[in-house]
Symmetry: C2
Subunit: 314 residues, 2 copies
């Protein structure tokens, strides 16, 4: 029997720890969607979170959990996306150094965003990010904060589901996007504790179905290379901690197709007036894919973030 990466008590502790620095994000509903699905769908709006994504939760929990001595040496991670910005934000809160290793071909807008939160940027060749990160750890003694394969990060991500369940009450089903599995793992830990009977579902683009195949085969499958998905936040493969947690929690993966993801992002924009990044719209796409299985149900969906260049809009 595999173990979860963290306990529900870890999630509760994380919730208290990050509360002063993270938003308690609102929950959105849509009467139109209720008619369409014949279900009550509750969207937890992590696109309205600090740095525009749930990643702020895990990064804050990891940074605020460090001993003073470790904190003084700073933190480092590799990320070209939301986790880099989140770690920079969290380090800024604590007033400690932060280095983010980014590929040298990362879009300038992403580099600027991370720098805007006060981090040092280390550019590296695309396949050298692990070694570049290790070099920073060696040189500075900084603590590496992995984007998802990290107990404190996972416990922090679990606070989104905690707030959602506290705010709307019992759910029959909870859905999150799945990339590296950090949000999914934290959500699973919270949900298994508070709602043992609830179905826990990961929404994954069919184009990057490695998590689906990992749970099917019982072995972590590598990330899909040269994937062509609009959900660019979900390209990552599972890690050992997240794989173990998802297996423990009996998470089911629902695969969604590219047009469905875009349709869901457009629905969010026009109907709930929320800018949702395509990765974050996979949850609604999964709700629709589930069809009859959601009828009459109360379904929580965590919108992961809202950082997007809108290239999918046209």
């Amino acid at each position: 029997m595999p173990d979860p990466a963290a306990t529900f008590e870890d999630v509760r502790t994380a919730a208290d720890r990050i509360a002063p620095y993270a938003h308690r994000t609102p929950v959105a509903t849509s009467a139109t969607l209720r008619k369409e699905t014949d279900a009550d769908i509750f969207f937890k709006c992590e696109n309205l979170q600090k740095v525009g994504a749930f990643k702020a939760r895990g990064a804050l929990n990891a940074v605020l959990s460090l001993s003073d001595e470790a904190a003084d040496r700073g933190v480092v991670t590799h990320s070209s996306g939301n986790h880099g910005a989140a770690l920079a934000y969290a380090a800024g809160i604590r007033g400690i150094p932060c280095t983010v290793v980014m590929p040298e071909d990362a879009p300038q807008v992403k580099i600027d965003a991370v720098r805007g939160y006060g981090a040092n940027i280390e550019l590296c060749e695309q396949f050298a990010r692990e070694s570049a990160t290790a070099l920073v750890v060696q040189q500075t003694g900084a603590t590496m904060v992995h984007p998802f394969n990290n107990t404190d990060v996972i416990a922090g991500q679990g606070t989104a589901a905690l707030e959602l369940i506290e705010d709307v009450g019992p759910l029959d089903m909870i859905i999150t996007p799945i990339g590296g599995g950090g949000l999914m793992s934290g959500t699973a830990i919270t949900t298994r504790s508070l709602l043992p009977e609830a179905q826990i579902i990961g929404a994954e683009p069919r184009e990057v179905d490695d998590a689906y195949r990992s749970l099917q085969t019982g072995e972590i499958q590598p990330r899909v290379e040269d994937a062509n998905t609009v959900a660019d936040g979900l390209l990552t493969a599972l890690g050992e901690l997240t794989f173990s947690t998802l297996t423990w929690a009996n998470v089911e993966i629902v695969l969604v197709d590219e047009p469905e993801i875009i349709a869901a992002a457009l629905f969010h924009l026009h109907r709930t007036k929320l800018l949702v990044e395509p990765s974050g719209a996979t949850g609604l796409a999964a709700v629709r894919k589930l069809g009859d299985r959601v009828v009459g149900k109360r379904v929580g969906v965590i919108i992961s973030g809202g950082n997007t260049d809108l290239s999918w809009l046209t």
Copy 2:
């Protein structure tokens, strides 16, 4: 001395009356904007309101205030925008007939939206809407619910500022878009009662500066014909009730230019992840226009709505 159209007690009564059917919308802030403006700006997100606009508040209050006898005869209004949808929504809540008179050249998407809320649509020639509405009143005995020149509507709109002040505490300044002046009037009544010293500011596109000139000259100026503004929700001139209320409250108008409105709508989308209609983005445009006058201040801004075809985005 002119009189306000409603009392603060009317607003409080409206708040209780509409509470079961209207969202208590969240308040958004932006650390980026705090740095830019050196002020604390609190956005009341009426784009997340039922029907996507604050108009739901006034329409609900008007419909729920009707006697049973009057309610049975239904309601009617003329509107090609959010008020039509809002009245249809409110009538649906009470289960009474609703007719919305719309110009025959109204976009099909708007006609469909109002019909989607269950209203009857009466199409009329562009300049015949008053007479077409009067005909419905004559034939059916329906109550005409004016989009803004109506005491119950104004009291209902005042509940947005009430919630904002309850949620964030005292403000030095409160800003709303100004078209016909219903939101502005309700906001002024609430604000003058709770925060007598606060500055109350209407944000108006320079292209349709009739409210500005009305308050300058002390006489209601007609709507600007052939105006070229992206803020299509603000084309209307003031009515007697709203003009009187704004004069009573000593409202100041700040004129904003078209590129400023679009820049503000883009800021909302990318930074706060909220879809805001251009009319609703005039508030942020006014904040920026005020520059030094907001430094160190606590400023409330009511985002009026989020219904837009995104044509301004490209």
